[in-house]
Amino acid sequence: MNRSDKNLLLLAENLVFYGRKKGADQVEVSIGEGNEFSVEIREGEVERLVEAGSNGLSLKVILDRKVATASSSDLSKETLNHLVDRAIERVKVSSPDPFAGLPEKERIPIHVKKLKIFDPEIVKLPPEKKIAIAKKTESICLSDERIKKTYGSSFGTYVGTTYLANSNGFSGSYSQTSCSCGVYLQAGEGNNLFDEGKFDFSRNLDSLMTPETIAEEAIHRVTRLIGARKMKTQNVPVIMEPLMTASLLGFLYTCIDGHSVYLKQTFLADKLGEKISNSMVTVIDDGLMPGVPGAKPFDGEGVPPRKTTVIDKGVLKNYLMDTYEARKLEMKSTGNASGPNNLYLAAGKSSPDDIIKSVDKGLLLTGTIGQGLVPTTGDISRGAFGMWIENGEVTYPVAEITISGNLGQILKEIEMVGNDLEFKRSINGPTIKIKEMTVGGI
């Protein structure tokens, strides 16, 4: 099932050897090879179709604890050798960094097969089928009379292999597949328009949502916003839908990422061991969970991911780090050289309905617009839209509002955690209820 090309792994190993021969103390080379297919449908016709295969190489050389890196999609031998030569030259003007260096060799067996990140069905799927799935998704949406315009639907697949070799003796490769389907819609009248959609992603064709489900959710997401009102500024409980919780966790990631921690660009620096959250909050990064989008046998440095508990019942236990960040912080790499692997907020017991029922007056947050996340302080301030809740029931839509708060405070004020956790991206969360945030309006 592994479609790995031995020649590319050999190319990586040879370049490691070349770098060592030219005087580097340590060398790491990785190659990514991939085939992408994507089709976009609008108003029933193929609007854009992209199909291509390409590859790229990245390398790192270390000499006297000094680091230089390079990458190239020009894989000719002369260019690659030149890149290594130049990197060894450049390294000399860098400053020695006692923390620089390749990871120690770990002898952890990697069971790529068990990770279920390669689905041969995706490789076999013919283009006509992909086009048909996208067309069907859009046509279901257009059959709903409330949908006036469509930005179109899309279906995409990716089949790729990653190769990594380093001078500490690591040499490995793995293949992965993914497929995705989505549709984005517009509803409303005159100058009062709303844009929303639904996008699903999976490593296996079987577990991708059907066109019917994607269409139904997209229609629900956009039509519920029709007639949205503005509202007065007030402090109320905020319920976050799973997508919004995932976005909050994405911000949490930037606050527990080793680089932000050693640069003290996060309010969570120096907080290990402290109770930073309500005890119903447990956050885990588990890159070894089979079949999930973020599963992988090793990260960008060849370090296998592991199950790292970031927040254990409210207590900050770990940062997520690569080898360098871990050395700076006198800890061990968590296998996060490629970012979050499979970061999630563990599911709680409440059903999303019960969470809504618990709110007298508040906001069900369904979407945010814009940036406004500051890791150094934890401050959050974003444009938002959603549904207004009164007496435990979803009433009318609200738009052109803002939400403001602070992640440190939000973590302490998570009052309910939903049971609706699904693994759809590399960062996932269930519905949650936050005791209070400022919802800004007119």
């Binding site: 609008r42 517009q186 100058n191 844009d195 500051v374 803002t402």
Partner: protein
């Protein structure tokens, strides 16, 4: 893998030399002749496509970073590849390869051409080379050719500028990124044109700490510039100091007062507002597809009559400046809003054809891996007569925005800007610094509520994302007063 190549080329570009903009670059290095290009363009049309195009790219991006008082890392990235596009009606077929052998390019051409499936025909292509007539980049003393030692001097100067600004500055990062992109574009209408584009950016990030607070500030400089920019226009020291100044100011900043109020947008960085609220909704694709709120407003009054907005890629040396766009069209100053009336859209080739308009040089792409879409370059709200101080004085109680984390707009015209640093306006004066405010509204509302325009044009250097493609842009604006806007905050 790439075929045998000519060693003479070796390494002109890799050695820091700037080649002249000519197709011979790809010919000398990869043996791709205009005859090969002609054949591939013809192959791409065999299934019945109406238009085919080849986009060749060779790009080198060098960067150096400094943090924790050491030169941490240097890197060199090479991006090589060719993209092949076929158009038929509203349909786009696209294929790309990073392997410039004829076989791989032929395969990509057939893949892209398969968008058209009816019939077969032969279209003869005759390539005629066009030359760039107007150079808008500063290629004197390019950073690309600068020795690493000299780059390190620049970055150290920025680093020290921030570190020495105030004893409360605890951590500094500085990055210098220089980029040289060689492109050759050929299409089935006979166009053959090349461009060599420099792009430079120096970024300083400073973190300041006192007993209670910790905050981060940032500042950048750059554009399609040469070394003289850092000597005359914006010195590295200045860039470092501005980053530190922001971090220090934020230490004493309070949360914004939420609610509707008069808002003054400061010059320069507020260009992001023009970019998001005005520029994006005027990109032709959203108007052709009638998803943009502006699609039915051409010729209509959409803004206060004092508002004039244009996009001009031909302004020299800016981050968004271009000799040719990524379809080989020659950009021109494109008036979008004249005295409040909507008069134009940002066109690429595809939308222009379908809308019966002329392309105006706004077809851009991130790299050879993407098909071009209508994008902004340097988007500018023309300056007015007011002294910026006069504008602030006219506000009794309101909010003044200086810098932003970013902004975003939806096709429906709803936008959000996240303000990093602002001030309260009290009795016509800037008083307490404010952090983390959000400005929200709709583009039609803000365009109509612009009530005073300053005489102090400034520029924002940005990176714009659309459909997964990031490209460098500039947005310019003087100080602006908005009658009322919704401000989000925690008080």
């Amino acid at each position: 893998m790439v075929a045998e190549s000519n060693n003479l080329w070796s390494n002109l570009l890799l050695k820091g030399k700037i080649p002249s903009p000519h197709f011979s670059f790809f010919n000398d290095r990869f043996g791709v002749t205009p005859e090969d290009m002609r054949k591939i363009l013809e192959i791409a049309l065999t299934k019945g496509g109406e238009f085919s195009e080849l986009f060749f790219e060779y790009r080198i991006i060098n960067s150096v970073s400094m943090e924790e008082d050491i030169i941490k890392e240097s890197s060199q990235r090479i991006i090589l590849g060719a993209g092949i596009r076929v158009l038929k009606g509203e349909q786009t077929g696209y294929g790309y390869t990073n392997d410039l052998t004829i076989d791989k390019m032929r395969h990509a051409a057939l893949t892209a051409g398969a968008i058209a499936s009816i019939g077969s025909k032969h279209t003869a292509v005759d390539l005629r080379e066009k030359k760039i007539s107007h150079q808008v980049y500063d290629l004197n003393r390019p950073l690309h050719g600068l020795k690493l030692d000299s780059k390190i001097d620049l970055i150290k100067e920025a680093y020290a500028g921030a570190k020495d600004y105030d004893s409360r500055v605890s951590k500094v990062q500085a990055y210098l990124v220089d980029d040289i992109q060689v492109v050759t574009i050929a299409n089935s209408e006979g166009l053959l044109v090349s461009d060599v584009r420099p792009q430079v950016r120096l970024i300083a990030i400073a973190t300041a700490e006192d007993r209670e607070n910790r905050n981060t500030g940032a500042y950048t400089g750059g554009g399609r510039i040469g070394l003289s920019y850092f000597q005359t226009e914006r010195t590295p020291k200045h860039i470092g100091r501005k980053a530190a100044e922001e971090a220090i100011t934020l230490l004493s900043a309070v949360d914004a007062v939420a609610g509707e109020q008069p808002v003054v947008l400061g010059s320069g960085q507020s260009g992001v507002m023009i970019h998001e609220a005005v520029g994006h909704p005027l990109e032709a694709d959203g108007n052709r597809k009638k998803t943009s709120i502006m699609w039915d407003k051409l010729g209509k009054q959409v803004a206060n009559t004092i508002v004039n907005i244009y996009d001009d890629a031909t302004i020299p040396h800016k981050r968004g400046s271009l000799n040719i766009d990524d379809e080989g069209s020659f950009p021109e100053k494109t008036i979008l809003i004249e005295k409040g009336k909507l008069v134009g859209y940002l066109q690429d080739r595809l939308s222009a054809k379908l809308m019966n308009a002329a392309p105006n040089g706004h077809g851009r792409r991130q790299s050879y891996q993407y098909s071009p879409v209508p994008r902004m370059a340097n988007t500018i709200l023309a300056q007015g007569d007011y002294d910026p101080e006069e504008i602030v004085q006219s506000v009794n109680k309101g909010f003044y925005a200086v810098s932003y984390h970013g902004g975003q707009v939806q096709d429906s015209g709803k936008f959000t800007f996240s303000v990093k640093r602002g001030y309260l306006i009290e009795n016509g004066k800037l008083t307490t610094p404010v952090k983390n405010a959000t400005l929200i509204g709709t583009n039609l509302q803000i365009l109509n509520d612009v009530s005073m325009i300053g005489n102090d044009m400034g520029f924002f250097l940005g990176t714009c994302g659309k459909e997964g493609q990031s490209i460098p842009v500039t947005a310019g604006t003087p100080t602006l007063k908005i009658r009322k806007m919704t401000v989000g905050g925690r008080r």
